[in-house]
Symmetry: C2
Subunit: 386 residues, 2 copies
């Protein structure tokens, strides 16, 4: 098995890109990654996308994007695992390079969620639930997250205001990230007064569906080291994926992200580290309760302690486990199948020391974890600075 | 790089399964493959699917199916490349096993295309075209195939009746395949009289959209050989994928499947064989013109000679390169993202000597090639009996 490094990253600003098509977003991100990597070929393109078929009428993004970005002919495929699609695409590329079947693999996560609003958008989002047993009853992923949050509040005696710490941290970090959707800071006071979306999840609790594209290029680490430039010195120390029941009612415990735990534990084992060794974590805060449960599943906080961990400053840039260091899903915006690649890119920025005002001191080992369908899929990558 | 073998196959009958959900179809196919493989675990599930989100409102099939078939927790992902999705899923599983990152990989192609009819079905199928430059003008994949056929007739002076050989062969072979959708034989006379669908493609020229699921389990060949049972003796001698422009107008030559040629040539090189060594070929006959162009792209017939090759008996069971030996897309039916896995399974049946009345004499090396979006994606596998 080959060690794998990330030799190029590129991203668009996250936002509402009504005037830019999927292929143009992908091109912008890929151009950035390609300029950094400066390789004369890639052996495969892995596209992470969740809803282009439903919302833009576009399938087979692999062939479309390969051609549009100047890679006509290259092997290309689209990878889907609901909101973990981007991370799933990174993992497929990792498998190809780590196994020695590709030398250079390009990943692009791309998504346009803001073109379609209202009922069709809700229907599309609901494909990430169990359509026969959840969506058929009007349930969407956010509604399920709301039920998880309500249960969390009940079980662990948490108030709405207790969850504010996640969003306040996310907006603070996003405010200095030029690629983030939101640059406004948030107070606990405005958090608790925000209009409800799916009680108890309010507007400032849930990440906004958005448009964007993010790209990374993977190569064997021995090649990357030989290259000797600073852009190529982040290595994927571990990549792991796991699943849980898709329908929340089928899970053994609605307040435990079993797949997140399993994939994190596998990743720790493969990297030879523990949760204590992680300097920062990019977690899937599509809703604050998911951020709390992710902290617990990854071993950064005890069971039921995720919210208090955040409230006590544990997730801040100078905390024990900084999370969402460039804004997370809440502050950066959540472009579905691109989100998992953004998380990887933000971890790379930290490890390279390129996070600007958001830089974590002494960041040498970071974790990025992406969830699909409120934890039915979990994909964890551990990145290190070589 | 590890050699990879297919140690289990399973399939549902192809047809209109209105009373069976996606997960139940997948279960039936996986059960068959699992009973044959008889392994105590799989390390990953790769789902090939094209339109479950659009037509059944269901995304994240990986997590859903993993849980439903008793594999809760296992890594799982969905792979999409339009109508080549099934073959693309096989290729992702192949990468994982060949690279040594998984010991046992399960692939299931599953699709339900017949639940939705009329305009929504056409819109969904059109996601396989370039949505901005083709679908926006009312073009569907079949319409593009019709334009290719018209051009073929013009360039090579072929008549409608000349294309009949493909469908006649497909129906003859399907008539004795219990898993095929159609068991009626077809005559040239009835072919030319069939009602038009998209002129010059008629009802008996195009494969019928259908429902079905097909599953294979891959393992390292050294493990499979140690197993010593007959079910495990088919090896993947090569796996290769390539792309072309998605929009037909963007291709350098509308009558040449460049991706099919590139992936076939790569596969030949990797397997150390030529087209002459191939005993039979499962090609992507979603329309007869695609079968003709595939014969040419793979080197079984000269450029412009695909139709005459078929008419002269070259594709028959006793011909030079038997194709669609268990019915092909036309006779078996075309369940979208499952089709590429069906092709692999049919090749395995031939190589094991389990094709019953459809058995090709002395079948030791077979090719399966799946096309996405009329050749924008092409994935070629070469299978051999060890």
């Amino acid at each position: 098995m080959q060690d794998v490094s990330i030799i190029g990253i590129g991203q668009t600003r996250v936002g509402e890109h009504w005037d830019t098509s999927l292929r143009h977003l992908a091109l912008e991100a890929i151009k950035g990654a390609a300029l950094e990597a400066d390789v004369d070929r890639v052996d495969g393109l892995f596209v992470g996308n969740m809803l282009a078929g439903e919302l833009s009428g576009q399938g087979n993004l692999g062939a479309l994007i390969a051609d549009f970005v100047g890679l006509r002919g290259v092997e290309a495929v689209t990878v889907e695992a609901a909101s973990a699609s981007g991370a799933a695409a990174v993992r497929q590329a990792y498998l190809a390079v780590a196994g020695g079947l590709m030398d250079f693999a390009l990943v692009v996560g791309v998504e346009k969620l803001s073109d379609v609003v209202g009922s069709p958008a809700v229907t599309a989002q609901a494909t990430a639930t169990d359509s026969d047993y959840e969506a058929a009853h009007g349930v969407t992923p956010l509604v399920i997250a709301a039920m998880m949050m309500r249960r969390y509040m009940h079980e662990y005696d948490a108030s709405l205001a207790d969850f504010a710490a996640f969003s306040v941290n996310a907006h603070l970090n996003a405010s200095t990230n030029p690629y983030a959707m939101f640059h406004n800071k948030l107070s606990v006071q405005s958090f608790v007064k925000a209009p409800m979306v799916a009680d108890p999840i309010n507007l400032f609790d849930a990440a906004a569906p958005a448009d964007g594209a993010a790209a990374v290029i993977l190569a064997r680490s021995d090649w990357a080291r030989g290259r000797g430039n600073g852009a190529a010195r982040v290595r994927i120390a571990a990549s792991a994926a796991a699943t849980d029941a898709l329908a929340i009612a089928d899970r053994s415990d609605p307040l435990w992200l079993a797949a997140a735990e399993a994939s994190a534990k596998r990743a720790y084992r493969r990297a030879g580290v523990t949760a204590r060794d992680v300097h920062f974590a990019e977690l899937h805060d599509a809703a604050t309760v998911l951020a709390a449960l992710s902290l617990e599943a990854c071993g950064f906080a005890a069971r039921g302690g995720g919210v208090n961990f955040a409230k006590g400053g544990g997730i801040a840039r100078d905390g024990q486990t900084p999370t969402g260091t460039l804004g997370g899903l809440k502050g950066r915006g959540d472009p579905g199948g691109a989100t998992g690649v953004y998380q990887i890119i933000e971890a790379v920025q930290q490890l390279r020391g390129q996070a600007g005002p958001n830089q974590i001191a002494n960041a040498r080992l970071g974790l990025a974890q992406s969830l699909g369908a409120n934890g039915a899929t979990a994909i964890t990558h551990i990145l290190v600075r070589d």
